[in-house]
């Protein structure tokens, strides 16, 4: 693309930064070029976040910074296997999933539609109606939790814009397939969801990997809920142990809108998820659920920042973290109640369960309140399986593995029971159980 990009002279660019700048040079200018260039410039100036940045304290990207990256292919040489992972809609899933390969949607040029929803390609939208898109790309932010979002804005080539116009009866599954042709690939999936006033839908983003090489995925999803709109949104990570995933989710809610959000980490090697929500008008409400499963050497870093920007807004955050083997799970959540957001209500509940002496869980619920008459509660506990519960079950003759698995499963129940898509819940339970000890026994009890 155009633009002579400059890096601050004092700081030598890391290999990763140099490779991102090189990717930028390969992009053809489009109608978003001005904002993209500013995003790229800002990103190069600020650099990759480090452990000195507030929301990155627990995740060190030093080794990632030393690597060079190239764009993941638009289509893998081998083609996409028809069903690369169990569908979250089960075998009898009625709506065909939308496929996105390395961020490129498989859509007819004119886009698609299902009852109550328009589906557009971002590339096409940038061509025909750039203003519709630009309002989602700006303002740019310097915040460290948005750093990778700047890079996504600069470099995404295509993506999906979903406009929910009515009541969508069936859950829509977007299957993100990450598949590389080398170890150094990166993808920039981008999704924008806008729910018109009074509309409702359920959208599941399911991240899976295929093939030998899984690209680093720098994904970004934005959700805007207009007045009284309702959305249930899932992001599920089921990639392989070698995968690195950096995902940002941004939610804006208008008056009376309701959002239920599930972040489910069941895969990947390094998974970083950020959720930023702004309840900008009275009556907006958000229920966020996080189910973070650390397995083997997985590193999961989950950051939630929820801002109450108007009176009578309500939010809950329910996080359940499990760490086994040598895994590490981090859950940071912050609730900000701005001045004037009177009668805001928020609740943060975070519980961690350690299943091995080499695993680690860090939780940090925070509250920042600038208004009077608010009701905010938070709690965080981390521990091992309750010995009294375990003894009780053993004393009834259950073997130790079964008893432990049942207790682990019970620990997650608060998140699982919140899911209203029965088929997605069943599929998530199956995948989850596979990562627990004694999975065969547990299956019988579902």
């Amino acid at each position: 693309m155009s633009g002579a990009l400059q890096s601050p002279a004092a700081l030598p660019m890391s290999a990763a930064l140099r490779s991102f700048a090189a990717q930028w040079q390969t992009r053809s200018p489009d109608s978003l070029a001005a904002v993209r260039e500013r995003a790229m410039q800002r990103f190069l100036e600020l650099g990759l976040p480090t452990i000195r940045d507030e929301t990155w304290r627990y995740t060190n990207l030093r080794s990632l910074a030393a690597q060079s990256f190239v764009d993941a292919p638009r289509k893998p040489r081998s083609g996409i296997e028809p069903n690369p992972a169990p569908s979250l809609l089960g075998e009898s899933g009625r709506a065909a999933p939308l496929l996105m390969v390395n961020g490129y949607p498989s859509l007819p040029a004119a886009g698609g539609a299902i009852e109550g929803m328009e589906i557009h390609s971002l590339r096409e939208l940038a061509r025909v109606d750039p203003n519709a898109l630009l309002r989602f790309l700006e303002p740019l932010s310097d915040a460290d939790q948005k750093r990778w979002g700047l890079l996504n804005t600069a470099l995404f080539v295509d993506g999906l814009y979903l406009k929910i116009t009515g009541r969508v009866a069936l859950p829509l599954v977007i299957q993100h397939v990450a598949t590389g042709d080398g170890a150094d690939n990166i993808a920039y999936p981008r999704i924008i969801i806008e729910a018109a006033p009074g509309s409702s839908a359920t959208i599941v983003e399911h991240h899976v990997a295929q093939g030998e090489h899984t690209p680093l995925s720098n994904s970004n999803t934005q959700i805007a809920l207009r007045r009284d709109a309702r959305l249930e949104h899932y992001r599920v990570y089921a990639t392989d142990a070698g995968a690195t995933h950096i995902d940002s989710l941004d939610i804006r809610q208008d008056q009376g809108s309701e959002c239920k959000q599930f972040t489910i980490v069941l895969g990947g090697g390094l998974v970083r998820t950020a959720l930023e929500a702004r309840l900008g008008e009275p009556g907006a409400s958000l229920d966020s659920y996080s189910l973070l499963v650390g397995h083997e050497a997985r590193h999961v870093d989950c950051v939630n920042i929820v801002t109450h920007g108007a009176p009578e807004t309500r939010s809950t955050q329910t996080a359940r973290a499990i760490a086994s083997d040598a895994s590490r799970v981090i859950f940071n959540s912050k609730v900000i109640v701005e001045a004037g957001a009177v009668h805001a209500q928020s609740q943060q509940s975070c519980r961690g369960l350690l299943l091995s002496p080499t695993a680690e869980i860090d939780t940090r619920p925070q509250l920042e309140i600038h208004a009077d008459e608010v009701k905010c509660a938070h709690g965080a506990t981390t521990g091992r399986l309750d010995p009294d519960m375990l003894f009780y079950m053993l004393s009834r003759g259950l073997d130790r593995d079964t008893a432990q698995s049942l207790l682990v499963y019970a620990f997650l129940a608060d998140v699982l029971t919140g899911m209203s898509v029965a088929s997605a819940r069943a599929a998530i339970e199956s995948a989850l159980i596979a990562q627990l000890p004694d999975s065969q026994t547990l299956r019988k009890f579902r």
Partner: protein, 250 residues
Amino acid sequence: MLKITDLSARVAGKDILKGVNLEVRAGEVHAIMGPNGSGKSTLAQVLAGREDYQVTGGSVTFDGHDLLALPPEERARAGLFLGFQYPVEIPGVNNVYLLKAALNAKRKSAGEPEVDAYEFLSLIRQKMKLMQMSESFLTRGVNEGFSGGEKKRNEVLQMLVLEPKLAILDETDSGLDIDALKVVSAGVNSLRHPERAVVLVTHYQRLLDYIVPDQVHVLSGGRIMKSGDSSLAQELERRGYDWVMESQVA
């Protein structure tokens, strides 16, 4: 069936049991009574295999096998059941799941096939009726939100489903009103059988009006101080535990 010889145990660095001797034969009902802190519950927990309770001496055989060598789950499968004084709540684990898992664990170790779903349900319904429990208890989490009395009924329900050879009921009567006490007692009595035995750990004589024991023992200071037939319980009720202590000293 159960033979306890000179059993000593320590909890959190403190010696609680200091040489308990007791023999329970098939078909018998024994009551272990005693003042608070005498070691009654510790004895029950040690027999069930609680791991943080340290056995420091003595032996226990169950049907001739070394009970103390078995982990808790194998003691259960061998036919030992502990009714807890304070049954723990396990939210998220379905009550009926636990019952079924427990029953199947026992059947598996006996070389029997898993219980058929229909057969299981009719068995549960029948036992719940006896315990006067509503079926809604089945789908709730184990003891979750149960009142004290409901928890105790649930313990007895589990016992009736598992049909243990030896049931140790730790203060199953405490916190029960008179109606609940009758229901729980009927449940326990329904299990009486020439090949089974029951050990009732209790603080009060009241339970023994409904479940008449063959032998009554007074546990105090970590030892059995006195044993007798059911009339001992009535005497204790009349004269208090101090009487036993004093008569020992004398």
